[in-house]
Amino acid sequence: DAGVTQSPTHLIKTRGQQVTLRCSPKSGHDTVSWYQQALGQGPQFIFQYYEEEERQRGNFPDRFSGHQFPNYSSELNVNALLLGDSALYLCASAQWGPEIAYGYTFGSGTRLTVV
């Protein structure tokens, strides 16, 4: 049973460019959350998608946007990349419901380096 799958694993982009990261949730999960983890920091919540809609958003600028597809997979888009966007981007999936907070499964992340 595949867990959460993220692609690509590593990515190098130039400042000002745009990037798209992808996530396939664990089988049976219908909700996807995205986190940014800078080096030496804990994961910071970006946003969460359920039923193809953004359900909750953290304190991130509009340069960060996302999408969820009918098969529950998700994309994270970042426009006008800044050096400070360099981080490990984590995807976490869960099954929507009252116990959702207790059932997140994380992927291995995409390491984004902005130069």
Partner: protein, 111 residues
């Protein structure tokens, strides 16, 4: 103000040398506290969920405890394979179901 503070930031132990990691939180009405293990370049791996003060959970050499203001992750007779970053996260009161993470404690166990 950070809701979750973990200490120490880094810890080096000799194999077999037991110790504890601390996670203090400022939220009241906690709905859950989570411990995760994260290996370098990997995503966090779930370890424990604690719900109320006095609760304890164990898994192999790890034991997590919870009081009204903090949680401890006790590591008994650690092995080099226990080396990782240990993250604590809390579920705040209200309707949010998004955990807030601390910065983690980086643990290195030397053979």
């Amino acid at each position: 103000e950070d809701q979750v503070t973990q200490s120490p930031e880094a810890l080096r132990l000799q194999e077999g040398e037991s110790s504890s990691l601390n996670c203090s939180y400022t939220v009241s009405g906690l709905r859950g506290l989570f411990w995760y293990r994260q290996d370098p370049g990997k995503g966090p791996e779930f370890l424990f969920t604690l719900y109320s003060a006095g609760e304890e959970k164990e898994k192999e050499r790890l034991k997590a405890t919870l009081t009204k203001k903090e949680s401890f992750l006790h590591i008994t007779a650690p092995k080099p394979e226990d080396s990782a970053t240990y993250l604590c996260a809390v579920l705040p009161p209200g309707g949010s179901y998004i955990p807030t993470f601390g910065r983690g404690t980086s643990l290195i166990v030397h053979p």
